[in-house]
Amino acid sequence: MELWQAFVQMVHTLIPWLDGTVANILIILIKAIVLVMPLMLVVAYFTYAERKVIGYMQLRIGPNRVGPKGWLQPIADALKLMTKEIIFPTKANIYLFLLAPVLAITPAIAVWAVIPFDEGIYVTNLDISLLYVLAIGSIGVYGIILAGWASNSKYPLLGALRSASLLVSYEIVIGFALVTVVMIAGSVNLNTIVQAQQGGIAHWYFIPLFPMMIIFFISALVETNRAPFDVVEGESEIVGGTHIEYSGMTFAVFFLAEYANMILMATLAVVMFFGGWHSPFEGIPYLQAVFAWVPGIIWLLAKTSFFMFLYLWVRATFPRFRYDQIMHLSWKVFLPITIIWIFVVALMTQFQLAPWF
């Protein structure tokens, strides 16, 4: 942190124009690059991990030809997608057609601005960061809907409609599930929420909110259009959904957005329910000292990668849900449970149930 402060100071002294406004913008830019570059790299290698893990679960080996053990596979994929031609359907609205992937990726990256990676490590510390996450996160679906509409083709349109109705149903569930977290933490600032979970595993919110955690994870699968809820793409039903008419880099951008969203949801699950950057050994006499040197960001990344693995695990295991069953799950199962649990949490808060309140 001191190093960063010193760096900020240095930039300010080097570029003193306009009362430091230029320097501030430069620092924000640097922060954004430092955030986005590793994110894109993680997305690339997440696709590799996905193919490997699913391959292993199906008793296959997965990609192992490009580079040692297939390590260069994502780079080869990226190169392929970049050099491929972008095909515009004759009857498509080209402006909307090109706007759609932009609208998909922008929120997927913008949301990361408020995620706290460690004590004091974030791009911005918004007081309403949770609301920001929910608000910007739901804009991402415009990209998919617009893609479906602008393609001027039947299957993308069906995919877009599915995506819209899924979002409406599951955004409510996610919202309610996160309301319980807000009730306990007493704040919508992600930093405060993580700080409120200090003090070892027993203080993390997944214990009092276990059903909410499960519901949040399943809803996150739906929100990110992941198997077994990938009806928006639904290869066997609607061929490829909103992605049909997209090729080359436009498709790659959708792909990036989807995976960035998955990683975001995994991180959010950790921040909300698993104590963010806090070490799981806090409060345990001996182990706490042994693991004291590990920086918080490592713990956050480790927990996040577990949830990312869970995404792949679930994808390798379950067949796709039928569309009406997903709707049933949302309105008739998840919504009642979350509302009931809000009351339960309200009671817990009322009676000051330790150690969470």
Binding site: V53, Y56, M57, L59, I61, N64, W313, A316, T317
Partner: protein
């Protein structure tokens, strides 16, 4: 009532989902069954019918006597043979073409051959770069035969006792 209740408990504890996840988690660490093809190969039966070859006698004389039995038996009409009398008075082929596009790899030619000249080898991973390449001329067939003499002899020997 009890049945309904137990079903409810089952679905709310995600018991069946957990069973599925357990199975895939087990397979994650199991031994993989993939055969890495160009480096590893699965065992091939000596009776495998792959690319054709024409054999020669150990003294270098070609076996084929242009009896045209293979041409006659070929169900796909893939074989075309033309023959002439050689200077030493024996009958030999001047042309022996097998069209691999027509060939169905039934192995009848091999069975029909009275002198075991035409055989099918274990080669299955061949490719050609032009449509002309699909025609195995006499020269190419003899080349395949001489390149794989040992393998052919070995497999034919192994299979002989079942014929």
């Amino acid at each position: 009532m009890i049945k309904k209740l137990s079903k409810l408990v089952k679905s709310f504890t995600l018991s069946e989902l957990r069973t599925g996840l357990k199975i895939t988690a087990k397979e994650l660490v199991n031994k993989k069954i993939t055969v890495q093809f160009p480096e590893e190969r699965t065992p091939i039966s000596p009776r495998f019918r792959g690319l054709h070859a024409l054999r020669r006698y150990p003294n270098g004389e070609e076996r084929c006597i242009a009896c045209k039995l293979c041409e006659a038996v070929c169900p796909a009409n893939a074989i075309t043979i033309e023959s002439e009398m050689r200077d030493d008075g024996t009958r030999r082929t001047t042309m022996y073409d097998i069209d691999l596009f027509k060939c169905i790899f039934c192995g009848f030619c091999e069975e029909a051959c009275p002198v075991d000249a035409i055989v099918e080898t274990q080669i299955f991973d061949y490719a050609f770069e032009s449509r002309q390449g699909s025609i195995m001329t006499k020269k190419r067939l003899l080349e395949v035969g001489s390149e794989n003499t040992q393998v052919i002899n070995q497999t034919k020997f192994e299979d002989a006792k079942y014929k």
